[in-house]
Amino acid sequence: MAITADDVLTIISEEVPIDRAKLDPAATLESLDIASLDMISVMFALEDKFGVVIEQDDVKDAKTLQDFVDVVQAKAGA
């Protein structure tokens, strides 16, 4: 199933939770006060909803939301 950037950001806003409007793709996770544990919840939700399995190692270099979206889309398309 194709996953859009919007799908990923919506799941981030629900799981963290954080206001969807604050999720500028260029923003870093750190600047948004999103912890690695929050992102693990996001990864579990992505797996539940889209069947895409993302390991913590896959996103260890992701700094911005866009970096994270890129990893998810690459894994989903693989």
Binding site: V16, P17, I18, D19, L37, I40, S41, F44
Partner: protein
């Protein structure tokens, strides 16, 4: 000198409503929080269950999020969410949010029967159904039975003693009792006590069904034709406070906890035995210094199961004898269902409100008298009363009994 124990805050959340005042209004109007539900756990058709239950259909989290931020309830099992909301209401009423007493002179003792059922089941669905090889790293922090106590401490900034008491349906009764004793012993000035539960899950539903304790129609305490309890969910919290501490800071005192009694049946893992209930009630009366002849409002355990109600009625007759004629028995589980870990606390709160407002809420769904349950009941409509003292029973599976006594102020 004996420390008097004031109630300075109360909060509740159940199928009957969110907040103590709306809950009370619904209760005395004879409304029921029980409605038919038809659910699928995790949206899986194979995990469907249906029947009557007192579920929380909507939750207003705006006040708690305005105070602590949008993430205050994130990553929690529902039972900890319910505990947070009920406790926030109670603390706000008590005027103790951000109070210096929270640093080390406040205890949290919270009653929970089984912990995070939703989280446990989601975790195992992942393992056994989806065949995943890993689980969410927050599984244990969410489902551990002490998660609500930890969440309350984190949220409120309470740095004194905090723990969970688990004694099934008597958990919050025991929590209130131990909080009272901590205040009497001078260990703390404030005790945040109560309990909560979120038991309405696929596994929870089938487990209660398997014990044959669940009604397929309605909770009919002490009635002929009663056939079991109705599952509820939610939480209830009381703020107990050293009387002098409450007076010194000008807090409004809502009632007084005057005694408690606890006992164990040592009899059976599911069946109640009257002797344990008798022993706990007598201990509570003695602790409170209240004679059996004193007219009492009795907030019964009243689950609506065949066995509990006749055993409880017999125990009441044994303890009070002829004096029972001047007492009156209420059974609010008929309106809010069984809150398990939160049952003792919500029933104490509703009993204290009945003393305050001088109105006893009606027992719902009554079909007619059962000779084995011959105790004075409030039937039909809410009834004007003028009792000063309340006795509130909680008798748990496994024979763990807790009785709390309170006084109108």
């Amino acid at each position: 000198m004996t420390v008097r124990v004031a109630i300075t805050g109360m909060g509740s959340l159940s199928g009957l409503g969110q907040g103590v005042e709306p809950t009370w209004k619904a209760l005395i109007s004879g409304e029921s929080g029980v409605r038919p539900i038809a659910r699928q756990f995790m949206n899986v058709p194979a995990y469907a269950y249906e029947g009557p239950a007192a579920v929380i259909e909507k939750l207003d989290t705006s006040a708690i999020e305005a105070k602590y931020g949008a993430r205050v309830l994130a990553h929690l099992d529902p039972f900890s969410v319910y505990a947070s909301i009920a406790t926030f209401e109670a603390m706000e009423q008590a005027g103790l949010l951000d109070h210096p007493a929270l640093a080390d002179r406040t205890a949290i003792i919270y009653g929970v029967g089984s912990g995070g059922n939703t989280t446990i089941e989601e975790t195992y669905v992942r393992l056994f159904d989806k065949k995943a090889s890993s689980v969410h790293p927050l599984s244990i922090p969410k489902y551990m039975v002490s998660a609500a106590a930890s969440q309350l401490s984190l949220m409120l900034g309470v740095r004194g003693v905090a723990f969970t008491i688990a004694s099934a349906c008597a958990s919050s009764g025991h929590a209130i009792s131990e909080g009272m004793h901590m205040l009497r012993a001078g260990r703390v000035d404030v005790a945040i006590v109560g309990g909560g539960e979120a038991p309405i899950t696929y596994g929870g539903w089938l487990s209660w069904k398997a014990v044959r304790a669940m009604s397929s129609t309605a909770c009919r305490p002490f009635s002929i034709g009663r056939d079991g309890m109705i599952l509820g969910e939610g939480a209830a919290t009381l703020i107990l406070e050293n009387w002098a501490h409450a007076e010194a800071r000008g807090a409004k005192i809502l009632g007084e906890v005057i005694g408690s009694g606890s006992s164990s049946d040592a009899f059976h893992i599911t069946q109640p035995q009257g002797e344990g209930a008798v022993k706990a009630m007598r201990a509570a009366l003695a602790d409170a210094g209240v004679a059996v002849e004193t007219p009492l409002l009795i907030s019964s355990h009243g689950t609506g199961t065949e066995l509990n109600d006749k055993t409880e009625a017999q125990a009441l007759r044994t303890v009070f004898g002829e004096a029972l004629k001047t007492d009156l028995v209420i059974a609010t589980k008929s309106a809010h269902g069984h809150l398990f870990g939160g049952a003792g606390a919500i029933e104490l709160i509703l009993g204290v409100l009945a003393l305050q407002h001088r109105i006893a809420p009606p027992i719902l769904n009554y079909l007619g008298p059962d000779p084995e349950c011959d105790v004075p009941l409030v039937l039909g409509e809410a009834k004007p009363i003028d009792y000063e003292v309340l006795l509130s029973n909680s008798f748990a599976f496994g024979g763990l009994n807790s009785v709390i006594m309170a006084r109108r102020v």
